[in-house]
């Protein structure tokens, strides 16, 4: 991908010295994984008297895929608008690629791709014409643009529809077109507001594969989504709820954080009080839930170490263990639990809303 970008810019007439400097800079950036691409501290945003974003702090490092997950109306898009410079924060500080978003330099803008939530391209232009237009906005000349457009059309599988008007293609195809327009100039940092909405699972998978490919090349992606299962594709995830970032971390960390540790499911032929006492007193066990059908669910500090020890303890008290294995709770349940805990810890402005994850 970076080669394509380099070729494109050479043909777009960028001076050689500048090109070389930028190339060197990229290499330096590539070996500096801790560099913050996005640094937001205590961001606030209000529309009139209504606060929509409160005390938002997040850092995104170079090459990361950062997923901002949350229900509709939680402030994800507002966050993207603030990071893209569409909106001025009411409070706090933010830098993206080292610059305040509302004062991005032209060079920085060339490195940013933006895919909005709605379809904002021209419905009366064909798929290809829209991409040419987007390429033109980023200064790609005709020949490099032509080559790059072919690549992105292939990536989003719109090659056959390239001569169709945007108006006449399906909603899912329009999302793919919007994504193609956002990456046609091969950006270093991509803001994608719900890029996989309305896409079928196969294409969603392909897009995430592409996103991971971009990330592997050192590009940074800031992606919002309502699909909680997509959290697993992200390097780090922020959970937004009612204008607040209520949890942030690697997916596994969030899972552990939600349940207080790892989960182990044990199926016995029959469960007794003796069995429950045996596992509850075992080292590393934090919590035990028992069901009448002989199933136990335990929260442990480390599932891998706990499972053989638990099986041994149960057999010592004469129990017959049918199965014992670590359990991976779905992210749906992880986030429901995190939101419930957040609700218990503080009442958000406007009251707790019923959400469906």
């Amino acid at each position: 991908m970076s080669n394509v970008q380099l070729d494109s810019e050479q043909q777009a007439g960028v001076p050689d010295a500048a090109l070389a400097a930028e190339s060197d800079s990229r290499k330096r950036e590539a070996v500096s994984p801790t560099e913050l691409v996005i640094d937001a501290r205590n961001l606030e945003k209000s529309f009139g008297e209504t606060p929509v974003l409160r005390d938002l702090s997040l850092q995104v490092r170079k090459g990361e895929i950062y997923g901002l997950i949350g229900p509709s109306g939680s402030g994800k898009s507002t966050t993207v608008h603030l990071l893209c410079g569409h909106l001025e924060p009411s409070g706090g500080e933010v830098t993206v690629l080292g610059e305040a978003p509302t004062r991005f330099s032209r060079r920085t803008r060339r490195r940013i791709g933006y895919m909005p939530q709605g379809f904002i391209l021209n419905l009366d232009l064909t798929v290809r014409q829209n991409l040419s237009f987007a390429a033109g906005l980023y200064g790609l000349w005709w020949w490099p643009a032509r080559k790059r457009i072919r690549e992105v059309l292939k990536l989003v599988e719109l090659g056959r529809a390239r001569r169709q008007k945007a108006r006449s293609i399906s909603g899912g195809m329009q999302r793919r077109l919007a994504l193609a327009a956002a990456i046609v100039h091969d950006p270093w940092l991509l803001f994608a507001d719900e890029p996989t909405a309305n896409l079928d699972p196969i294409l969603r998978t392909k897009l995430w594969d592409h996103f991971r490919g971009m990330s592997a090349e050192g590009r940074t992606l800031f992606i919002t989504t309502q699909y909680i299962d997509e959290a697993e594709n992200c390097d780090r995830v922020g959970l937004m709820y009612d204008g607040t970032l209520i949890a942030e971390g690697r997916p596994e960390e969030l899972r552990r954080s939600a349940f207080g540790g790892d989960i182990v499911d044990i199926q016995l032929e029959s469960a007794s009080t003796q069995c429950v006492d045996a596992v509850a007193t075992a080292p590393g066990v934090l919590d035990v839930e028992a069901w009448r059908d002989g199933r136990l669910r335990l929260t442990v500090e480390d599932a891998d170490r706990a499972v053989p020890m638990l099986v041994s303890s149960l057999e010592q008290v004469g129990a017959t263990v049918v199965s014992a294995a670590p359990y991976q709770p779905t992210f749906d349940s992880v986030f429901i639990r995190l939101i419930e805990e957040h609700g218990r810890s503080r009442t958000p402005l406007g009251g707790l809303r019923r959400i469906e994850l």
Binding site: C84, H86, P116, I120, L137
Partner: protein, 470 residues
């Protein structure tokens, strides 16, 4: 979009091809006087009236004619006087009544105007007839004056030969001739027509001369020592005769209308309706198309959040606006080229002036109109509002840019509206360049240029306002 731009074009072409700005001849009923009348005079009336009015009917029933007028069966009723000479002899106007009930204010002038023309023509005819009738009287007057002068010559000779009786006799003859001349002129009466003022003057002088001759006669009779000034009297009568002789050979038509205006059309072209309105229509369509395109293009992108893309992309507001201007201007100019082709090739509208000057006018008009469209686009809160603004401007052009009414016929505040429209300047300039072969007013070119620049700056400011991070 197509209907918004080309709809008015189709309407304008239909209007140009189908409209007729000449008014139809009014329909009239002529009410002739009941009973016997001067048939020759009545025929004159009819002849004159038919030149200006379409006579549906002649009737002597005035009430019937009024009823027909009341139910709008005719446009006017003309009531002829029974005996015009009788009224004239009484020192009054002979009145022809013209009744009409036109309620359309743009046409209410037609009947009075035609009536005025009929009045002038009839008066002229009467004056000509009167003048023609005076010709024999003038000839007789000349002869009488000749006789009087000859008598005075004889009287003077007799007086110098101390033949007082002979002199007296000749003076009496001269006085009788003058008195006879006065009788001739008196009988010419009111029909003297155009000669009336001249004859009145002559009569006055004759009265004076007759008195002087009477005094001469008395001095001769009384053997007075004071000698009558016969030579002076002769001189006066001779002068009078010269005046009468000058009038006698002049044709009655010349006497009646001594001054005649001859108008001459010197423009390079006498345009028909389509040709005359073609430049204004071109200006109107350019403004309308550019405003409609401009107003919709920006508002659509603004409301569809395409501006978000521009705000992230590495382009400045200035570059974005320039891009928009170029696209819209090129499109509008292409359409203008096609329109000019149709006007010249199909409708035969000429272009007498300089092509570069016309090109400059079209370019400035397009730039100004595109700017106007963008300003609307950046101010409107919805596409519908932008379309409404564009249509309001179209109405404004039709009424205030000189298309429907000449600009110099407008008063404030309409005049200000007029000069706020780029099409007003464009129509004027294009008319000069295309139909008169003139370069057009420099001031208007400068105003269009200034307007386009100001609108560009306004649009740039509005764009910055709209793309400012909120």
């Amino acid at each position: 979009m197509l209907s918004l731009i080309f709809g008015p074009l189709v309407i304008m072409i239909a209007f140009g091809l189908g409209s007729n700005i000449t008014y139809p001849t009014p329909r009239a009923i002529v009410v002739t006087p009941p009973g016997p009348a001067d048939q020759a005079l009545m025929q004159d009336y009819r002849d004159q009236i038919q030149k200006y009015l379409r006579v549906a009917e002649y009737t002597s029933d005035g009430e019937y004619a009024r009823r027909q007028l009341a139910r709008n069966a005719v446009d006017t009723v003309v009531i002829l006087p029974p005996d015009p000479y009788e009224a004239i002899s009484r020192g009054q106007h002979a009145e022809i009544q013209v009744l009409y009930n036109e309620i359309d204010p743009t046409r209410s002038w037609v009947i009075p105007d035609y009536a005025s023309s009929v009045e002038s023509e009839i008066n002229r005819q009467i004056l000509m007839q009167g003048a023609e009738r005076q010709r024999p009287a003038l000839q007789a007057a000349s002869q009488q004056l000749d006789a009087a002068i000859r008598a005075l010559d004889a009287a003077d000779a007799a007086r110098l030969g101390n033949n007082r009786d002979e002199a007296l006799q000749r003076v009496r003859e001269a006085r009788q001739s003058v008195a006879g001349l006065r009788d001739i002129l008196d009988t010419a009466g009111p029909e003297a027509g155009a000669l009336s003022p001249t004859l009145g003057l002559i009569q006055e002088r004759l009265r004076d001369d007759e008195e002087r001759l009477g005094e001469s006669e008395q001095s001769l009779t009384a053997q007075a020592t004071v000698q009558p000034d016969i030579a002076s009297m002769r001189g006066r009568l001779q002068s009078l005769k010269e005046t009468v002789d000058r009038l006698t050979p002049v044709r009655a038509e010349v006497l009646v209308s001594p001054v005649k205006v001859r108008s001459q059309y010197v423009a390079p072209l006498r345009p028909d309706v389509i040709t005359f309105f073609a430049p204004a229509m071109l200006a109107l369509l350019i403004q309308h198309t550019a405003v409609s395109l401009g107003s919709l293009s920006m508002v659509r992108e603004r409301l569809a959040d395409t501006f978000e893309l521009y705000m992230v992309a590495p382009i400045s507001n200035f570059q974005m606006l320039i891009g928009k201007y170029v696209a819209n201007t090129v499109f509008t100019l292409a359409m203008t080229g096609a329109l000019v082709g149709v006007l010249v090739g199909f409708f035969g509208v000429p272009i007498f002036g300089d092509a570069w000057r016309m090109g400059l006018t079209l370019l400035l008009l397009t730039l100004t109109s595109v700017g106007l469209g963008f300003a609307i686009s950046l101010l409107a809160s919805s596409e519908r509002q932008a379309v409404q603004f564009a249509m309001l401007l179209l109405l404004g052009i039709v009424f205030f840019s000189g298309f429907a009414l000449p600009v110099d016929a407008l008063r404030q505040p309409a005049l200000s509206f007029s000069y706020a429209m780029p099409a007003t300047y464009g129509a004027d300039l294009l008319q000069d360049v295309m139909l008169r072969g003139l370069p057009g007013r420099e001031l208007f070119i400068l105003v269009l240029g200034a307007l386009s620049l100001v609108l560009f700056l306004v649009c740039l400011w509005l764009l910055r306002w709209r793309t400012h991070a909120g």
